[in-house]
Amino acid sequence: MIFEAPRLEPLGESAFLVRIGDDVSLKTNSRAVETAAALRRVLPLRIEVVPAFATVGVIFNPATDSRVTVEALITEAIRGPRVVAPQPAKRPQIIKIPVRYDGPDIDAVALRLGLGRKDLIKLHTGTVYTVMMLGFAPGFAYLGPLSPKLVLPRRPEPRRHVPPGTVAIAGAHTAVYPLDTPAGWHLIGRTKLVMFDPVRSPTTLLHAGDQVVFEKE
């Protein structure tokens, strides 16, 4: 649900959360991404604006920017009339991610969902996903919504390591693990694309609001 008015909550003395709603729907999320863009327009560049599913984080350095001023700027931006950025005339480019569907969990996942491996791949490649937020690790993009036929809870025991480029699903989302991190999601494939590279510009392949499809390699 999207709240009637966004709520402003302190996150310590050097950050605020703007709460747009309380769910992980695309509708709530696109409002969060839109709010983040509106905040970026009014806040100085040195202040970080971080969109998430239903919230936007604003993180600043109180030695540089006064908390009262930041709070006032945010309040003005979220209370004022909604300014929707003009849509680009062309449809946004869809980023294609080639995948080898040979992840260690793919057969177990297919079995649990009552699907064949081919159906699972068809469902996973048959959706244009939206990048809802980045978080958990650099370049880790939560893509959604996943086909309801592919929704599963996370694994009870997370793996300690996962190779970068591993494609995974959990809940209503799918993602590519950018780094060797612990992994609680179900691993269904892998891609050769580099999701995060600190010496590349931009560092991450995907950004909040981008459109993505997976293609069977």
Binding site: L11, G12, E13, A52, N61
Partner: protein, 324 residues
Amino acid sequence: MIEILKPPPFATIQDGGRPGWRGEGLPPGGAIDPWSLRLANTIVGNEPETPALEWLLGGGSLRFDRASAFCLAGARVEAWLDGVPVEDRQICYAPAGGVLNVGGFLSGRTLYIAIEGGLSVQRVLGSAATYLPGRFGGLHGRKLLAHDQIALGQRRWPPPKFNATWIEKLPQPRDVATARFMFGPGWEDLSAIARTRIVGHAFRVSPDSDRVGVRLIGKIPCDGINFAAPSEPVIPGTIELTSDGNLIVLLADGPTTGGYPKPGVVIAADLPVVAQRKPGATLRFVEVTPTEALTAAAQARSQLAALAALVRPERSRLPDVAGF
């Protein structure tokens, strides 16, 4: 150059970190006890966030290949330069070839070793900080190993001036067992019993603590709490309540977003307190207002600025440095 002779269990190169990339999911990183990093650098006349060694629990040794001023700050350790005991929060002078040995940690968990001129490594996204999960920054993106050689930066002229009495009034986060915090977005969702426990209890620090966060054994009653809330932005200092009733206080390498309930956020001025608690030590929380949090941070900044003006009077435009 310095050379690591015997590496401690976990040492990395850290500086002030690389804020600015949270939207890409990259945490700010840098020193988990920013106060002690800045203090050690200030004492040797460096800019406060110059790259230095961050050295966690455990002994080790290193050799200086050129005569160098250095300073230890943060944890209190047993340390010797060529066999002669050295004190922390003081300027020490190593001769060319001098060997610094660090032994046991007497109190605190995180030691900083700043060297005049600083450690010189390639910067990634504007910072020398080692970010282990991404395997970049610092020296090859990893912890320091035996035989590692780290170049030193240019020293400035004139050499730093330091008087041992100048640090007497400065706080020592390693000796503090209470961290001040502000109520967080998840405070209202807690039961009265859970709230009482968080503000009243002396939590024990779990050995399972690292640069991502300090884990606290809690046994906090979690009845009725929603652990399936959407992930949202978090910052270092955020206190997360995990479904087993324990707490994690996030530090510099903590993720940029998290889905756990967030009862509170430790104020920036007390992150050093959290970073200095040893496994097995206790930590309590006491609630403060945003104004108190901002005042504490501003006070720490002005204390360091005043010290820097004494150490490098030639750089200070202040005609008179009050407060010391």
